[in-house]
């Protein structure tokens, strides 16, 4: 196990970064941001892969592989659906060259 003080340092700094990066988000982007954050915790896939790679017993391996499938659904699906939402926000810009001016005001 890692040094507890190092762990605490990492956690505290990550908490502040997490608070800071989303503190001023417009309500228009709440849904994509929630969905994007949702995709990021799909990184539990890394944990599932490690566990599956170390499983010796077939039962444990089965459970671990289920975890891999679930985590992949979270990770891959999360990023794809977020991209689809954001694609719709972006798609108007080429046809509406003046849209940028109004956008900066918000």
């Amino acid at each position: 196990m890692m040094d507890p003080i190092t762990l605490l340092t990492v956690v505290v700094l990550a908490v502040f970064v997490g608070f800071e990066v989303v503190s001023k988000v417009t309500s228009k982007l709440h849904t994509p941001l929630m969905s994007g954050a949702n995709a990021i915790h799909g990184i539990i896939l890394v944990g599932a892969i490690i566990v599956a790679g170390q499983a010796s017993d077939p039962w444990l391996l089965t459970i671990a592989l289920i975890a891999v499938v679930l985590a992949t659904v979270n990770l891959v699906g999360g990023f794809v659906v977020t991209d689809r939402m954001l694609e719709m926000f972006g798609s108007r810009k080429p046809s509406r060259p003046r849209a940028g001016a109004g956008e900066d005001g918000t």
Binding site: G18, P32, M34, G47, I63, A64, L86, M88
Partner: protein, 457 residues
Amino acid sequence: MSVLGPGWTALFYLAASVCFILALKGLSSPRTARRGNAIGAAGALLAVVTVFLSAKLENIPLILAAIAVGSAVAVPVARRVQMTQMPQLVALFNGVGGGAAALVALLELGHNEDPWVRLAVVFTMLVGAVSFAGSAVTVGKLQELISTRPLVFPGMPVLMGAVVLGAVAAGGFVVATGSAGWAVALVVLGLAAGFLLVLPVGGADVPIVISLLNAFTGLAVAASGIVLGNVLLLVAGTLVGASGTILTKVMASAMGRGVTGIMFGAFRGGSTAGSTAQSDRPVRSSSPEDVAVQLGYAQRVVIVPGYGLAVAQGQHTIAELATALAARGVEVVFAIHPVAGRMPGHMNVLLAEANVPYEALKELEEANPEFPNTDVALVVGANDVVNPAAKHTPGAPIYGMPILEVAQAGQVVFLKRSMRPGFAGIENELLFDPKTTLLFGDAKDSLTRVLGAVKAL
């Protein structure tokens, strides 16, 4: 394979962590959002490649097959889901992530003797299970498989208390003994707690709960990082936990609610005051031709879209109607309530899909001062977000939520399926106001007929 040494592994994980921070930062601004998401995905890919190259893994073909299965399930669903059903999908993805975290912790239990690590195992299993079951209930509520009304039964707080105590006891046994049996019991109790936590939440508050459970899953993933001694999981999970908590608070305050009020309000009786009964009080109903005349000869029209519009897939028709009115010289804007649709920002996504120009979308604070200068407010499939009960009726479930003040406009036209109350289950006094007219029917049908009539003017 152990191609990468521990130093390189740590560096690549650090790079992936930075990608996730940049992703969240990018997602907070409209111009950088899509790039932010792509950076996040790149970070995830880097992390997954790194784990294959650094850890001593067996069963690699099976793991790759499981990843292929997961992707084969997720990608088509994510690509094809209708935008109206997106909240359910986000909740579902969140739930399976929580489930995965709980399973990972369960399997790691046997490898750890340290009581602190076991405590992290217990936390991951419990929170992951709560998130999984809670998300399942939110999906059920959003799909209306379960009642969207707050579900409470006598003795529920007692049962919840018993489940929590049981979970604490089971968690204590797991920490002390490392027993797999108790660990399974803990997961079952966590699932029960998730169900009991979300059942009492009213339909209109479900988006907030999804965001909260998203933060929960983040925390479970962070704890799994401690279990596995993996800094990337710790950082990514903590980031999501922290940003998810803030986002939940921001969303709740956009609805004028506190998070504790949303989660436990039903037990105080406040949120259960609504009713789904239809009212038989008289209203003024109208025809598409009359609505077309009202709109076509107005100077300024504000359209208030709601979930009914999304359900009817009417966003393209309403965009056409706005264009047709603009061609007649009518000034048309859309007033978007922060929680219009089923999730904050959902309606912006739907109207963006229909190519409604960004400048025509006004947020609540911009839209409200303009209603007194507006001739006609056209409310399409929305109810709760314009319900004056939020301002005037202290007992109402939505009391305190900021509303779009359409009552200030010269005339109000509602396009509604029926007189059934909205998602929050409360009647809207505005429907009975003398300056209000109603056009009943499916939002898309009504809009198509109004559009035809406007073009014929």
